[in-house]
Amino acid sequence: MSGRPEHQAPPEIFYGEDEARKYTRNTRMMEIQLVMSERAVELLCLPENQPCHIIDLGCGSGLSGETLTEQGHVWTGVDISSAMLGVAKEREVEGDLLLGDLGQGLPFRAGAFDGAISISALQWLCNADQKSHNPAKRLYTFFSSLYGCLSRGSRAVFQFYPENSSQVELITSQAMKAGFTGGLVVDYPNSTKAKKFFLCLMTGGQQPLPTALGVDSREDAPNCVTFSQK
């Protein structure tokens, strides 16, 4: 699949001023991001009617953050592109924004957040954008710092675009090493256009995965891959 953004440039270069502006003016793109954000929040399984403190990983121009605000949550966003964060500022999003590299680890205190979402960002961590980058090490640094700053029992949901199954394997193995349980939920597995991957990570020990959307039969969804520590 040629033309994947992460093969063209590192994220802070790809999402420069022009792309940042385009991204946030493309209404179809915005609609897709909105739907995915709402689905990610649903998969977080937060307690009902309770305002939570959420971290948005790869928050970009704040599209997913707005879903969090709409649902009554308080959020902080981290992104590596200052151009995208600039657009978020212009759009006056409610969340606090941080310029940072997820692969360097999340600089937060233990238990700071009640949950984490990430929309269309995780695949960027799988590339070595600099000679010194080791994707497996960066993923582990990221996941272990995330595990630390989530309160016990909370979840992290990542919508992302895996390039291939070994990338999924790389990601899930580092997440497991860091202490997470959980698995991949694939919505609309039979539709090339609608198919969406959500990595659902949990901190409170193995629990059943949420059901995927668009699965025809009622049997144990073959599109849910569960993994655990042992």
Partner: protein, 124 residues
């Protein structure tokens, strides 16, 4: 950057830093906003907040006035306390300045309300 965010930020991703908390603040520009008061959220956040670090931060910003020096008993039902906590956590924003690692002195600049936590390759 709101003081709630400052209260949970550390520099522990840097090599050689053990705790990296709390970060010092030298602010050149601070803004006070009006943010909708959500008592339930504030009540829950107080459990996570490091109150002495919050006082230190407010003091650094020259905005210490009125901040209670400690969390009171039965704060969940004390609306006056919750409102004060809300004001300091959610309504005071650092726009420009620096955050300082307490162990290495390394500065993280804050520009237009956004802290730059990017570390150099040799720092992580």
């Amino acid at each position: 950057m709101k003081l709630l965010t400052h209260n949970i930020l550390t520099s522990k991703c840097l090599k050689g830093v053990t705790v990296g908390y709390p970060l010092g603040i030298v602010a050149k520009e601070v803004k006070v906003n009006e943010v909708e008061f959500n008592p339930e959220f504030i009540s829950r956040m107080i459990q996570k907040v490091d109150w002495p670090a919050l006082c230190k931060a407010a003091e650094n910003l020259g905005h210490l006035d009125n901040l209670p020096p400690a969390v009171v008993d039965d704060y969940e039902n004390n609306e006056d306390f919750l409102k004060k906590a809300h004001h300091f956590l959610m309504e005071i924003e650092v726009i420009n300045g620096d955050l300082i690692c307490p162990e290495t002195g390394r500065k993280f600049p804050v520009t237009d309300g956004i802290p730059n936590m990017l570390a150099n390759e040799d720092e992580v």
